[in-house]
Amino acid sequence: MLKFIVKKLLQMIPMLLLISFIVFVGLQFTGIDPIYYMISPDMAANTDNIEALRELYGFNDPLLVRYFRWLGDLLQGNFGYSIVSGSSIKTVIAQRLPATLELSAFALVLSTIIGITIGIISAIKQNGIIDYIGRVFAVVGQAIPQFFFGISMILIFAIKLGWFPTAGRMSPEGVGFGDRLWHLVLPGVTLTLSMCAVLMRYARNTMLGVLNSDYIKTARSKGIPEWKVYLKHGFRNAMRPVLVILCFRLPMLIGGSVVIEEVFAWPGIGTILTQAVVSGDYPVILVTTLMVAAAMLVASFLVDVLTALLDPRVRIGE
C-alpha cells in the first residue's frame, strides 16, 4: 500500500510540471506586453528605454529560460507580482483563499448531506413523493443558469425580505462568527443547490443498483430487519462510488465557484481569476491555474487511494 501511495504521489510531479508548462507557453501567445504595465505612458515613446527594461527583466530570454526562472521563483515561494495592480500575488492569494475555502467547504458539506440523504430516500421509496420532488428539482436545477438562480435569491431573500445581506463576506463593523455566517448563507445555499442535483441523481442510481443486487435479496431472505438491510448492506456499498464522486469535487474548493463569487461579490479566488482574465493579468492566471491543477491532482490522488483501500483488486493490479 505504501508503495502504491508513493508511486501515485511521484506521478503527480510530472503532471504538474506539464500543466504549468502548457499554460505558461499558452499565455505567451496572448500578445500582452507586460512592459507597458510597468512604465508610465509618456515613457512608452522612448523605445530605447523599453528595450533596456526588457533586457533588465529578462523578457528577451528564450522561452525555456523564462519558464525555468519562473518555476524556480515559484519553488522558492516567490509567486511574482500582478502586472495590473502591482501587488504581490502571494499576499492577494493569502487574503482571498480563505473566503473561497469557506464558501466551497460549506457548500460541499451541505450538498453532500442533502444530496445523499435525498438520493437514498428516493431510491428506497422509489416513485414516492420525495423521489418525485427530487427528480423535478434535479431537472429544473440543471436548466437554471447558476447566476440567474443566485440573483433571484438575492432579490427574494436579501432585497424583498431583507433577511440576508446582498453581497460581501462581512459587514464593515461586525467581525464576529455570526456576521460571517449571516453573509455566507445566500451564496452557500446557491452553490449547494447547484451541486445537489448531480449528487442526488448519482446517489439514487447507485443505491438502486445496489438494492437490486443479489446480496440484498440474500440479506432480506435471512430475515434481517429492513432498516438494517438499507443501512448496513445497501448504504455501505452504495457509498463507494459516491465517495469517489465527492473527491472529484474537491478542485471546486479552489476554483469552481467562479460564477457564484461574482454574483455575491464574494472576495475569493474565483473573482481574482475572472478579473485577471478580463485584464490579461497573466502572472495571476498562471498561479491560480496552478493552484487549481494542484488541487485537482490531489483530488484524483485521493480517489486512487480511496478506491485502493476499498477495493483490494486495484492495489494488486498495480
Partner: protein
C-alpha cells in the same frame, strides 16, 4: 440480392417507425421538442415577430416597463428586450449547437483512434481526457479565454476543445468491444483500409449515444455562454446574446427595480434548456435504452 435489400429496408423502416412512435408517446419529450422548435422558429424568423431591431437605441423609452408597445420592456438604452431576446437567441443557440457538434466531432475522431488502435496512443488520449475532465470546466474555459482572447469564434473553439470528453469516452469504450466483432475481422481480412473500417464500418454503430450526448451538450453550452457573458468574458457585448442581455443584472439597482431586464431573459434560457434536456432524455429512451 434485390429481395434481401428490400427486406433490410422494410425491417429498418419498421424499427424507425417503432422508435418514432415511442418518441411521440413520450409526453415530456414531445413538450420539449415543441417548445424547442417554437423558440428556435421565433429566433430564426425574428423579423416576423417584432418590428423592433436589437440595436435600435431609443432615449425616449429607457428602462420602460413592459407595455403594449414593448411587451417585455426596454433596457437602459431603450432597446426592445423582446427583440433582443429573439435576435440574441440566434447567437446563443448557434454557439450551443456549433460548440456541441464540433466537440462531438473531436470526441468521435479521437475516440475511434484510441479505441481501435489501443496501446500507447489509447493510454495517452485517455490520460489527456481525464486531465480535461477533472479541471473545473469554468476554470478551464477561463484559462482558454485568457489564451485565445475574447470573441465569438474563439468561444466556439473553446467550447469544442472543452466539450469532447464525454463523446470520446463513449466512442472509445464502444470501439474496444466492437473491434473484436466478426464483421470487423472480416473487413480486416478483406484488406479494407483502417480508415474505412474505423469511420465507415464501426463508427455508425456507436452514433446513438453520441447523438444523445451532443443534445445534452447543446443545453450545457447555452448555459455556459450565459455564465461567461455574465462574467464579461464571453461573447463581446456588442453582439446581443442571452448572456449579454442578462449582464445587466450585475447591478443591484437593476435587480431591485427593473425585473424585466433580467427575469424574462433568465426564464427564456431556463425554458429553452429545459426543453432541450427533455428532448434529449426522450431521444435517450429511444436510441440508447441501455443508459438511463
Amino acid at each position: 440480392m434485390e429481395l434481401t435489400l428490400k427486406e433490410k429496408r422494410s425491417a429498418s423502416s419498421s424499427l424507425m417507425k417503432k422508435n418514432i412512435r415511442k418518441f411521440l408517446n413520450n409526453r415530456l419529450a414531445m413538450i420539449g421538442l415543441i417548445f424547442m422548435l417554437i423558440l428556435l422558429f421565433m429566433c430564426v424568423f425574428a423579423p416576423l415577430f417584432t418590428s423592433y431591431d436589437a440595436e435600435t437605441v431609443d432615449f425616449t423609452a429607457m428602462r420602460a416597463a413592459p407595455s403594449r408597445e414593448h411587451i417585455f420592456g426596454t433596457d437602459r438604452l431603450g432597446r426592445d428586450i423582446f427583440a433582443r431576446i429573439l435576435y440574441g437567441g440566434r447567437v446563443s443557440i448557434l454557439v450551443g449547437v456549433v460548440g456541441a457538434f464540433s466537440g462531438s466531432l473531436i470526441g468521435m475522431v479521437l475516440g475511434s483512434i484510441a479505441g481501435y488502435f489501443g496501446g500507447k496512443i489509447d493510454a495517452l488520449l485517455v490520460r489527456i481526457s481525464e486531465l480535461f475532465q477533472t479541471f473545473p470546466q469554468m476554470v478551464l474555459i477561463l484559462i482558454m479565454v485568457a489564451v485565445l482572447g475574447q470573441g465569438l469564434e474563439n468561444l466556439l473553439i473553446i467550447f469544442s476543445l472543452t466539450g469532447w470528453m464525454t463523446t470520446f469516452r463513449m466512442v472509445r469504450n464502444e470501439f474496444l468491444s466492437l473491434k473484436e466483432e466478426t464483421y470487423v475481422k472480416v473487413c480486416e481480412a478483406f484488406g479494407m483500409s483502417k480508415m474505412s473500417i474505423m469511420f465507415g464500418q464501426i463508427l455508425p454503430n456507436v452514433m446513438s449515444p453520441v447523438i444523445v450526448a451532443t443534445t445534452v451538450n447543446v443545453a450545457g453550452f447555452i448555459l455556459q455562454e450565459a455564465s461567461l457573458s455574465f462574467l464579461g468574458v464571453g461573447v463581446p457585448t456588442t453582439i446581443p446574446t442571452w448572456g449579454n442581455i442578462l449582464n445587466a443584472a450585475k447591478s443591484i439597482d437593476v435587480v431591485t427595480n427593473y425585473w424585466w431586464l433580467w427575469l424574462i431573459p433568465g426564464l427564456v434560457i431556463t425554458i429553452f434548456v429545459l426543453a432541450v434536456n427533455f428532448f434529449g432524455d426522450g431521444l435517450r429512451d429511444v436510441l440508447d435504452p441501455k443508459q438511463q
